[in-house]
Symmetry: C2
Subunit: 188 residues, 2 copies
């Protein structure tokens, strides 16, 4: 058998792309990404058909990682509010300790390069979190609001909270709670 197409190299490219995109934006040259990954320019195109394809896969990878991080250590027996606070902590902690991944994600989200398929797949990775939200708002003032709106508010609040935590890491914990309480007031 010839040398297998290595998953390590694939990951190296995705990691390099994350870093490089943060520094140079989405117009980052593929050659730069390849170099950062320690891989030849041409090799990049053996792993990803096009630059757009690379962006789509990277987006999905990051989104999936974020979603899995958020649902770690859940105690199904606990009250809904406690469970969700755990998710919130996981989420914001992941984002605060992976600023590059988060920035790259933000860039990719607005890139206009993502296919509807990618968006759909990404949405599915958030299904567990969205399910909790559904139950939280069920008896509150947002019970009649479209679910998409509630999810959008959650994402936006999380984003703002994470920004604050990153700006002022000393009080990260306090800010985390501040954002959570604000969201809870809004939707529960």
């Amino acid at each position: 058998m010839p040398r297998p197409r290595s998953d390590e190299k694939r990951s190296a490219i995705l990691d390099a792309a994350t870093r490089f995109i943060v520094r140079h934006g989405l117009s980052a040259p593929t050659a730069g990404i390849a170099k950062e990954a320690g891989v030849a320019n041409g090799s990049l195109f053996t792993y990803f058909e096009t630059k757009t394809d690379l962006f789509n896969q990277l987006y999905l990878e990051l989104k999936t990682e974020m979603a899995s991080a958020a649902v770690k250590n859940l105690r199904p027996a606990a009250a809904l509010r406690e469970q969700y606070f755990q998710v919130w902590q996981n989420w914001t902690k992941w984002a605060a300790s992976n600023p590059e991944k988060r920035r790259a994600l933000a860039q990719l989200s607005v890139s206009g390069e993502l296919s509807p398929e990618t968006r759909t797949a990404a949405h599915k990775t958030m299904a567990a979190i969205a399910g909790m939200l559904e139950r939280i708002r069920a008896n509150g003032p947002m019970s009649k609001a479209p679910m998409g709106f509630v999810v959008a508010l959650m994402n936006a609040t999380a984003d703002a909270t994470i920004d604050l935590m990153s700006q002022d890491p000393t009080h990260a914990k306090k800010h985390c709670k501040l954002g959570f309480d604000a969201l809870w007031r809004m939707i529960s």
Copy 2:
């Protein structure tokens, strides 16, 4: 005296850029923008030094327009909540009826092309609205939170609300109120 450098043409370019950016993203070729504006490629660079300069001026123009629209028809005698609801209605209405301007604004916001000066100037145009927010949160649960965080939450909530109104214009009025109440719950 020769023909003056026309402000009409400047506006035409900015308008064209708004439309063209929505359709082609920030990588829209300047030649395309110029053509859309009915102006020669080179003329664009007599009005704007560089593409980046064009983007900065466009951002500021749109932001200013939005902020002025929001503070129309205010009744200083009215209760704070009524006043702010008026602002909210103006704001969302403007955004809902200027979808292209809003989209362009969103793209420009995350472009990484905006100078700190532009950001500062844009921030100033929102001063009146931020001032109202300041008073609203003064006696509420967010009284100790950083003002920047509160502003970010307001912007995010407005964005989500406007999205919802655009998606389902039939119930725009209801959605407008829904978003306002959600924000009010969160910060007042």
